[in-house]
Symmetry: D2
């Protein structure tokens, strides 16, 4: 994974609190690689894929941020460096999407699908690992990846050029 020259770029990891072993292993590796790129990892702050990704980032000395659905920071997983309590339930998914230069989606939960759809709507690129395939009037814009490395490579390449990236 190439290193970002710009600082303070957010890359999101979206996925469910109930996940398979394969999804969790992918999430840890994705978290590690995002941290190595120099990006800040943003996730939903709970367990499962969110916790695994935050753990990967923490193990590499990176910063993992959790945007929680509830009112209490006590719901936060232990690997977050920063936890934010929105008290807005599923509406917090929109905040995650808006805050990231790109997203890596892991697994096929309904919450993940709502985040993918919101990202498509708002033009935030999504890289998909073992995630939803959708068919409607509008096209499925998810970029598919097979390995964690491929996914993060793509997410970082996009983050390098998107205007949402801040050079701080």
């Amino acid at each position: 994974v190439r290193r970002l020259e710009v600082k303070n770029v957010n890359i999101g990891v979206i996925g469910a609190s109930k996940a398979t072993k394969e999804e969790l292993a992918l999430a840890v590796e994705v978290g590690r690689l995002i941290a190595r790129s120099g990006a800040t990892l943003v996730c939903g702050g709970l367990g499962g894929v969110m916790e695994a990704a935050a753990r990967g980032a923490a193990e590499e000395g990176g910063i993992a941020v959790g945007i929680l659905p509830g009112n209490s920071l006590e719901d936060a997983n232990r690997y977050l460096r920063v936890a934010i309590a929105t008290g807005m339930g599923e509406a917090r998914n929109v905040i995650i999407v808006k805050s990231c230069a790109s997203l890596v989606a892991i697994g096929g939960g309904y919450g993940t699908l709502s985040e993918i759809a919101t990202a498509m709507r708002l033009g935030v690129p999504v890289i998909g690992l073992l995630t939803w395939r959708v068919a409607g009037r509008d096209p499925d814009l998810v970029v598919r990846a097979v390995t964690a490395e491929e996914a993060v490579d793509k997410a970082v390449e996009i983050a390098r050029v998107r205007p949402a990236s801040r050079d701080a």
Copy 2:
């Protein structure tokens, strides 16, 4: 369509502001039938499917409520009896889902997909007309319908029994 005995039940219509003629014709008819059932129609308040459904409801003397994404009530379509400005962008989709006993989804825009996904996540039944098909780890729970009458029949049957319905 059977008439609801309970009062003040919300049934949602979700769909994009850019829609085909077929989708718009369906939306007008769905709006009419929801109004005839005695339910309040809740939608996103803008144009396209939202406006067509609100128009159908208004033509039958029903109440159409629009939950707008922006800060200004001036974005509201002209058929709404009540317009609410959330200023929360796409996060307003979650409010529409939470406020309804059941939802009719028309067409295949990304915003509609995010609402379907949020509804699946929160357990709000969705009846689909010409809308997304999705495949992931979790099942596609959208109940398919072919005609406006079939869709509203199903939406009203569900609204009749769901606890979200208030008997006012």
Copy 3:
């Protein structure tokens, strides 16, 4: 109270669920007068001042809309014609403010103070009955009133000219 010529104008009533008898009596009268003006009454949907105002509107055949903080429509008071479940807690106060041409504040709860402050910030005029007085760097812009009739008169006069009013 003069009647609004424009249709579908929202006037808000903000106040706490715990209220004194005097506040509740004022709220019923304010609700009645708002309904008589032809405006739609928007409130927080719960008990106390919110319920009293909705009751007043309902008794005059008007429409009362409740923007609820929680996820369930079952929290709605019985006088609402339309209930919306935001699931956003106190953040729903901002939605009430943004949706109204003017607001009548009754009583001195903390939630009411946050709504007054948000209204000042966003430029939505507030008429105050027995409510907070504030002193800071910025001025206290609340227009004071003593009777329900004086308060609604002022709220309707403002609603008549503010651009948020929609002519539907």
Copy 4:
């Protein structure tokens, strides 16, 4: 200022983007002291008091988090280590309040008043520096301080014992 033994505690700084020189100087010092305590500084992410506090934290090697009202991270001030785009306007104030163990309010803008009121409503302690005084049915619970050191001392003491603090 005593150092927090627990990790990952958020202390908020609330204040306007338009501020006096005195308020800005206080904000820089408050930011420095919060960083020295080991707490994470959470603010609204824009200019004025928010930027000054973030600058103070950054100068001490601390982490400043900005919860932005808009959709774009480009609005973020340059001293934030983490920026979050809520796209929810003034409703983002509620997120700041919910995420913090205690808050330091500097100056008298309307947005600050809405945050103070929301904090009172939700039971989050507020330490006030040159900020609003309010009088209503409910008491003014703001703890007054005169110097930055006094304010942060109190904020840290509270953060030490409040359950919102996470021991990560």
